[in-house]
Assembly symmetry: C2
Homo-oligomer: 213 residues x 2
């Protein structure tokens, strides 16, 4: 299950982490068509995106801070895996993949310069970010709206949160996430030279292709 | 979900709370045949046992410390409901019902005298306890075995625990539970004049009819 920093808990399944590309949400499949060149799959999880890119003949590096995730990627056939955060990646990449809501890993407005800066440093001249996010304003849930309001009161963006995953006796550390609307994402990325070139959405979820300039 | 005092978390469904008697575990149905007279359904939950007894023409009082549970019992047709613990019950009863694992509400070895004493005071001459429990020794799960061992180390019975229920932002207080093997239950109850007259089991779960003398 997932626990949010306000104590909100919610069951969480794992099936989506193992889904074949045919079973991905349509907006992810559409964005995935823009994947090209050497690919860095950030927060690769169980490797579904790495495997899909690899099957299409691309060179892929699956990156994850979780040793368990890296091990699962390897066992499922991902050829290149790296344990760690973005600082552990080496070489130059044409595509940075942040599917499965991984654009939330921007983490916070304050972390955005380092986030986009790191990708700028690792990206080739035509580098693109292909990822999915969650528009926090696409909810009418009173608990979530109250969470946004409390964030505003504390001078934070409504979509700032921390989560941890718990299963039986296992608890991860707290992970900072930042849910942004498309326009918030565009505004946060622009000062660092990244622009939303294309986007697709389904309800509050969206996929984007971002290019650098 | 259910959270144990060592941080162990587990999903928990609600369907069993609403099950018709035809869908109860067989050992519960067998024990239920011994229900007689005026019935106190302790920890009535959504009222499944109260409704089953009421349908069989018995007078039933559904008791629960949860205002929500009492409200659900009322809406589902339970005629007599009382909000509170055992001290809130009045009158004399022939059967004390502790189905759905509610014998765990004995809580701790130290609470057993008050538990059995209260039922003795409320019970008529032929009073019986009909309830279900969980034998803690019927597990090979390493997390549960480690929990038992830590309990032993602290001088507690292996089956002593506290749980709380969490759903979204709602968290109950901590609830003490005591899981006993049938022989532990018999040993704990005997000094207070209660004896296991009949029992049925399925895996680690069992149902008992206890009589007083």
């Amino acid at each position: 299950m997932v626990e949010r920093n306000d104590g909100f808990v919610e069951p969480a399944g794992t099936a989506a982490y193992f889904a074949d590309i045919a079973d991905w949400p349509e907006h992810e499949r559409q964005a995935f068509e823009a994947v090209t060149g050497r690919v860095l799959d950030v927060g690769a999880g169980a490797g579904r995106a790495s495997l899909a890119a690899q099957e299409r003949g691309m060179e892929v590096v699956a990156l994850d801070v979780s040793p368990g995730a890296v091990e699962v990627c390897r066992r499922r056939g991902v050829e290149q895996t790296v344990l760690g955060g973005i600082e552990a990646a080496t070489g130059t990449f044409d595509t940075f993949l942040y599917l499965g809501g991984n654009l939330g890993l921007i983490g916070s407005p304050g972390a955005a310069p380092a986030f986009f800066g790191a990708l700028g440093a690792l990206g080739g001249p035509e580098a693109r970010i292909i990822g999915t996010g969650l528009d926090p304003y696409g909810t009418t849930d009173p608990d979530h709206l109250a969470f946004h309001e409390e964030n505003r009161r504390q001078g934070r963006m409504p979509g700032e949160l921390s989560i941890r995953i718990r299963r039986r006796l296992v608890t991860t550390g707290w992970i900072d996430l930042l849910w942004l609307s498309l326009s918030e994402l565009a505004a946060l990325a622009a000062p660092h030279g990244w622009h939303v070139a294309e986007s697709w959405s389904h309800g509050p979820l969206y996929s984007v292709v971002m290019t650098s300039s």
